[in-house]
């Protein structure tokens, strides 16, 4: 191509820009389709591989297996399962408990969020922080603490028994009430936190405008606030429902006659009834996924465009009137006590001398022996190393994976492919831990199509793999959230300056999403540290995680040791969460 420089002006310009010109010419390549630059191809390959092995194959395998009997296609597994009263009961129990859990959590969490977000009273911040405490409590540890506190031979029951000189424990922590109480305690923070976040996002000017138009206080709440809160409330309801469906520790330890599906799957596997376990797993997965679709569908119809927020953010109203003020404080104190008591109980019991707490209200002798034991005995202390290393492997893998996904999703590309990718990543999150563990165990418990003769079950790697699958959606979500906050023009600026796709990702995107990504990774890490539901199904005796140690100490009635494990686990989680919160703040 010849460049004509026939005008005087043109000549001057070529001379002044000489260096830039030659560069450009060498840079210029024929227009090529941009889709298949090689790093992208590589990432796509990795993503396809991980999803194939971790999500697609195991789930399809389980579904296929549930429709097979003696090597033939058949629905007889389902016919058999659904003709058993106990299976039907467990389906009803799971759904029923979850629905009631959602209702109870909403009843507790929403008013609490209003109280803490809209009004100010002494020590509000402390109470507000405490209210979110159950979020960081691993379910198993929470269950154990609850037994120590409210169980039929727990501190509260004994206190009442001894005060009123009763012959028997005043109650038993069993069945529906126990499950719902515990679920409400551990899951109401979903409503509390999400409603609170929703309330802070609402433009206060809207409420003020409504008031100025003559709407009463109740009309403002029902017509202005609640409709705008709907997306938050739906998200909270979804989280609560899914967590409740997946709940395992509580039904295991004090479910009594209420046999939820997760527990049924576990006992079926323990009995060796693999086909029943698989069938129930598919049923549980189907219910969870339908719930996810139902809620997301509803959520989509209720999105509001965020109105431009300028100036007016709602100031918290101080509660000035004497009566209301004392009532609010009293409620706050009472509530915080309720929240702190299980944890305090756990702490107390962890110092109790073993075998010393039989019929008394409180343990009578205290000692450090439980802590000494779990740290000095090598068999007892190795669980910390096990859990730490397995969680770390899973978390680091999840971080790398989420960058891989983020790089793929960040690019302009086929929208269908992106949606498929996001959806496949979401699946392990939406499925209860029991389902993930069973599907992996069933798929890789015998020589398989994908792994050949290598059998994953029974190796060290089974738990890190399950942890990774269960918690990587969290990290991906965190990374995606950071990416969404990222100014899109930054990448465009980098492109206009000549940076290719890989350079843009590593030099602009990556450094900016780093804090959010690390915070997400730490969250996944702490949840993996206390994981019990999936671990109990597939753990290897030589490589027990902390949760399994707690459960087995509990079974042997070493209550102090179990509590000590719980306290150490909570301390580790607390420290890591503080670091994560710091990172989160440094980003802002």
């Amino acid at each position: 191509m010849s460049r004509k420089v026939d005008t005087a002006e043109g000549k001057r310009d070529t001379e002044t820009r000489g260096r830039g010109d030659t560069e450009r010419i060498t840079n210029r390549v024929p227009a090529s389709p941009r889709l298949f630059s090689s790093p992208r191809l590589f990432l796509l390959f990795i993503a396809a591989l991980v999803l194939l092995y971790g999500v697609i194959y195991p789930n399809i395998h389980v579904v296929v297996a549930s429709f097979q009997q003696n090597g033939n296609w058949s629905v007889s597994n389902y016919v058999q399962a659904l003709s058993r009263v106990i299976v039907l009961e467990s389906i009803l129990a799971s759904v029923g408990v979850s629905v009631f859990t959602v209702l109870l959590c909403a009843t507790v969490g929403i008013p609490l969020a209003f109280l803490f977000e809209r009004y100010s009273f002494p020590a509000r911040r402390v109470f507000a922080l405490l209210a979110a405490l159950p979020l960081v409590l691993p379910p198993l540890v929470g269950t154990v603490a609850f037994i120590f506190l409210c169980g039929e031979s727990g501190i509260l029951a004994r206190l009442i028994q001894s005060t009123f000189h009763l012959e028997h424990s005043p109650w038993s922590l069993r069945g529906w009430p126990a499950l719902l109480l515990f679920h409400t305690y551990t899951m109401y923070p979903f409503f509390y936190v999400l409603t609170g976040a929703g309330l802070t996002r609402i433009d206060a000017a809207l409420a003020e405008a409504a008031r100025s138009l003559g709407a009463s206080r109740t009309r403002v709440v029902t017509l202005i606030l609640l409709p705008q809160l709907t997306p938050s409330l739906i998200a909270a309801a979804l989280l609560t429902f899914m967590t409740s469906m997946a709940s395992f520790s509580a039904p295991l330890l004090f479910g009594g006659g209420v046999r939820m599906l997760t527990l049924e799957i576990y006992t079926a596997r323990q009995r060796g009834d693999a086909s029943l376990a698989i069938t129930e797993t598919v049923i549980l997965a189907a219910i969870s996924l339908s719930a996810l679709f139902f809620f997301q569908r509803y959520e989509g119809t209720r999105k509001f465009a965020a109105a431009a927020m300028k100036g007016s953010t709602k100031k918290r109203q101080p509660i000035a009137r004497g009566g209301a003020r004392s009532l609010a404080i009293a409620c706050g104190v009472f509530f915080s006590l309720l929240l702190v008591l299980p944890v305090a109980t756990l702490l107390l019991v962890s110092f109790a001398r073993e075998g010393n707490w039989t019929t008394q209200t409180l343990p009578t002798a205290y000692t450090f022996a439980n802590y000494v034991k779990i740290f000095s005995d090598s068999r007892a202390s190795e669980v910390f190393l096990n859990s730490l290393s397995m969680s770390a492997i899973a978390a680091v893998a999840a971080l790398l994976w989420s960058f891989c996904v983020a790089a793929l999703l960040a690019r302009k590309g086929s929208r269908k492919l992106k949606r498929l990718l996001s959806w496949l990543i979401l699946v392990p999150w939406a499925l209860p831990g029991t389902v993930v563990a069973v599907s992996i165990a069933e798929s890789y418990g015998q020589p398989s199509l994908l792994l050949g003769s290598f059998i994953l079950v029974g190796t060290f790697w089974i738990l890190p793999v399950v942890y990774f699958l269960r918690f990587m959606p969290l990290v991906v979500r965190a990374v995606q959230a950071s990416m969404e906050q990222l100014d899109a023009t930054l990448e465009e600026a980098a492109a206009s300056l000549g940076a290719g796709w890989w350079q843009r990702f590593t030099r602009v995107t990556l450094p900016l999403i780093w804090p959010g990504a690390i915070a997400g990774t730490l969250l996944a890490f702490v949840i993996a540290l206390g994981e019990y539901v999936a671990s109990v199904l597939v753990f290897v005796p030589t490589n027990r995680p902390i949760s399994i140690a707690i459960a087995s100490e509990l079974r042997d009635f070493n209550l102090g040791t179990a509590a000590a494990y719980g306290v150490v686990l909570m301390l580790m989680i607390g420290v890591i969460m503080t670091v994560a919160a710091r990172l989160e703040r440094s980003r802002a």
Binding site: D13, N27, P33, T489, E492, A494, A495, S496
Partner: protein, 358 residues
Amino acid sequence: MPLLSLKNLSKRFDKTPAVTDVSLDVERGEFFGLLGPSGCGKTTTLRMIAGLEQPDSGAISFEDIAITNLPAEKRGFGMVFQNYALFPHLNVLENVAFGLRARHKSKKEIIERVKSALELVQLPGYEKRRVDELSGGQQQRVAIARAIAIEPALLLFDEPLSNLDVTLREETRGELRELVTRLGLTAVYVTHDQEEAFALCDRISVMVGGRILQTGRPRDLYEHPAQLSVGKFLGRNNLIRAMRLSSSKSELGEFKTLEGGHVIRIPVADKNLVPLNQPCILAIRPEHVLVTNSTDKLENVLPVTVREINFAGATSSIKLDAEGLVLEALALDANGLSVGDTLTVVLPPERIALLKNE
């Protein structure tokens, strides 16, 4: 041969057309403006030039080479974004050096070129500053330095001054023009600010609704808008609805205004001959409406009543009523006037534009 050439570019977002059939040529060394109200497709056009959007149809060529599908990073065009898009995790040096690093320049050369780029935008010695410590004007300069450091083949501006306050905007405007001229660069500049476009650009394309309505030198656009929407968009205008009279035979066309029924004569060249007895629009700028008391044998003399006087600093805007026809005039000194006065105005024929009525 034009340096940059757009041929029939069209772009839709989902179902909404953003840019429709846009063609333009930018000559080497030219400061070219894309002017239009917000949402008119000017930024989308610029982004297609930059390679940040792909046109649905049409072609872009640079130095006669098709670059329509060339990725942005291969084009070597510098771009200055409306929000500056400075990398918040990098300091000034690293921001300006970004494009040079991407070109794998030696460290020594990078330092030198960053230094000279920062001197050009009058920010010498700012290398180690964090970008969030800088004022808006300084960030703006860093963004410009970053774009010129790569010695761009073409410099693209997307409303770069719109986030600055008025004084700073005018100051930066002058420096920007001077800088681009001195470096002998070719620039495409997107703005919705007519004054800015007039002050900066050699030539301007006026865009409305995704289409280019008119391209030309600022003065031509201002004085001879080809269409009603251009006339409406560029500055204030008295738009007079009128009908061409069948009686007009001379080279001065005769028009009768629909309001007031005045007869106005203007020269009508054959090419834009308006059919007789068809409504059309006559446009005259307020500053061209002569307020006078003498009625020497001038054309287009109308008796008017003063309705409103708005003091606006250096000038005053006067609302006049000519028997139902409302006119706006601009006067340097409105001291002698008061509301209710009757006087005469002259609409000089050579100042009246005949617009297509769309």
